[in-house]
């Protein structure tokens, strides 16, 4: 059964067509890659899915719900989480608070409970804190729990971003260039981590990546964008040999 269905997704910036007639289905438990040269419209696709932009045309269905027109926070609470191309942590908040924020939509207490410090409030806060600490433990970040996020080394910040994304209990995880700025050893670690994430949290993963090694390593299917157009969709091996993909990446003279 497909978890995410994107049909005819099109988006204009002013007169510029950033994404044109993008179609894709993600089945439950799949790992799918989205690749393409710089400026091909990959991040725009993520922004459209998560409601940062409203698509000019097209439909996005997730888990039986129509996403177009919803606010980002509603989309996230339905079970989609994402990371960012450039790290966007809450830099002055502690690592623990960054992860606790992902639980925002799940906290089952209202403003009155918070202001009166009711028993419900205390139980829920404890539950959220425990869950957050559990996540930090899983990501090997426990010792930084009370440090502002900005004080973390780069690699840890990247890990924290994924941990924060997972805290909202997603079914679908969107990773925007998770390997950016990593060396080969770190990339190996990342690949292992993504495989582990998928099983541990029963995730469907949709990821944007530049580095072929990452994409070829873990993706079951790949979609290729160039200037907003989908030029190929298929298994990694097919993609690698597709002449149109080679052309987009390497220029015309190769083909």
């Amino acid at each position: 059964m497909s978890l995410l269905q994107i049909e005819g997704l099109t988006h204009f910036f002013g007169g510029l067509k950033a994404v044109s007639d993008f179609n894709l289905e993600l089945a439950n438990g799949e790992v799918v890659g989205l690749i393409g040269p710089n400026g091909a419209g990959k991040t725009t696709v993520f922004n459209l899915i998560t409601g940062v932009y409203k698509p000019s045309r097209g439909r996005i269905r997730f888990d039986g719900h129509d996403l177009v027109g919803l606010q980002s926070c509603q989309i996230i609470s339905m079970g989609i989480a994402r990371t960012f191309q450039t790290i966007r942590l809450f830099r002055d908040l502690t690592v623990l608070d960054n992860v606790r924020l992902g639980h925002f939509a799940q906290a089952r207490y209202g403003i009155r409970d918070a202001l009166m410090r009711s028993a419900k409030f205390r139980d829920e806060e404890k539950r959220i804190k425990d869950k957050a600490l559990e996540l930090l433990e899983a990501f090997n970040l426990t010792r930084y729990a009370y440090v502002p996020a900005k004080a973390l080394p780069y690699g840890e910040q990247r890990r924290l971003e994924i941990a924060r994304a997972l805290s909202s209990n997603p079914k679908l995880l969107l990773l925007d260039e998770p390997a950016a700025g990593m060396n080969p050893r770190e990339i190996d670690e990342l690949l292992e981590r993504i495989a582990w994430l998928k099983d541990e949290f029963h995730l469907t993963i949709f990821l944007i990546e530049h580095q072929m090694r990452v994409v070829m390593g873990i993706c079951e299917r790949i979609a290729v964008l160039d200037f907003g157009e989908t030029i190929a969709v298929g298994a990694p091996l097919e993609i690698q040999t597709d002449p149109r993909v080679l052309e987009a990446y390497l220029g015309k003279e190769v083909s």
Binding site: F13, T43, N47, V52, F84
Partner: protein
């Protein structure tokens, strides 16, 4: 009715010209520093005093009025520019990389300081600006206009035109626009950022200084608090036009001046003018959050 309308339009044109000269200072500083210079209204007030003292001095020396007028304009523009650059160097420059609110609070503080320093040293008694321009009333059919009114409109428009040329065509203007887009890149490209910022303050305040002299010739009562209301109105004008945009400030100023002169014709009393002006402002901001001519910046995710 038509005549009253035309007459009020003329008054609106005169008032709008003065507002525009002051609004330019807000908008130029905002354009370059992203700082709402809340002290600007009081800088305008200071310029009126400069104009007053200069005019008195020149007239007592027996200068012919037209010469005294030109000299007064020069002196007021120059001294106002000096004061503004001094304020920028002493108070704003140390805060250029501090959180923005500190700079805004500082601007508010400087404004209060200027008001109260003037009050403490010169006293609360209003001063009457001596007449520097020949005040002849021309009648065009049933319409009456004074020579002062015409001169104010002409001088303001000439000044605005010159300023627009400076910003659009000269090297300095280009450097200003460069700094306004991106300070770091501009400085890497060899633009002397500090100097350009000072020049912006100087020009913006010199124009306000000219506005001060013209305003006090039209409405010759000068007191330490006059900058508050006029400053706010010029500020709203700048925002309605799209703060940071020079032409927008001029547009906003005229719109607002018309609001001010036409409010008493529609509503029972002129005390509604603040209400109308700020409601216009609110509506503009809700409909076009960056003003009528402001550029809309897309959010990068």
């Amino acid at each position: 009715m038509i005549i009253l309308l035309l007459q009020q339009m003329l008054n609106g044109l005169q008032l709008g010209s003065v507002y525009a000269l002051i609004a330019l200072g807000y908008t130029m500083v905002y354009g370059i520093l992203r700082l709402i210079n809340f002290a600007h209204g009081d800088i305008f007030m200071i310029s009126c005093y400069f104009g007053f003292f200069a005019a008195c001095a020149f007239l007592s020396k027996g200068l012919p009025t037209w010469l005294a007028f030109i000299a007064t304009m020069m002196v007021s523009m120059l001294l106002t520019a000096l004061v503004a650059v001094l304020i920028e160097r002493v108070a704003y420059k140390p805060l250029r990389y501090a959180p923005k609110v500190s700079a805004v609070i500082t601007a508010l503080g400087i404004g209060l300081f200027l008001e109260n320093f003037t009050l403490a040293t010169l006293g609360p008694t209003p001063r009457g600006m001596p007449a520097l321009l020949p005040n002849v009333n021309y009648r065009l059919g049933p319409l009456s206009m004074s020579s002062v009114q015409i001169l104010i409109i002409i001088i303001s428009i000439v000044l605005m035109f010159l300023l627009d040329r400076v910003v659009q065509k000269t090297m300095t203007g280009m450097a200003m626009r460069a700094v306004s887009y991106d300070k770091t890149t501009a400085s890497v490209m060899g633009v002397p950022v500090d100097k350009i910022i000072s020049i912006t303050f100087a020009i913006g305040s010199a124009v306000a200084g000219a506005g001060g002299v013209l305003y006090s010739l039209a409405y010759p009562i000068i007191n330490p608090y006059m900058g508050v209301r006029i400053g706010w109105w010029a500020f709203i004008a700048a925002v309605i036009g799209g703060i940071g945009n020079v032409r927008g400030a001029m547009l906003g100023a005229y719109i607002l001046a018309f609001v001010e002169v036409f409010t008493p014709m529609v509503l029972p009393s002129s005390t509604y003018r603040d209400f109308v002006a700020f409601t216009v402002l609110l509506i503009v901001l809700v409909v076009r959050p960056t003003g009528l001519m402001g550029r809309v910046t897309a959010q990068k995710v």
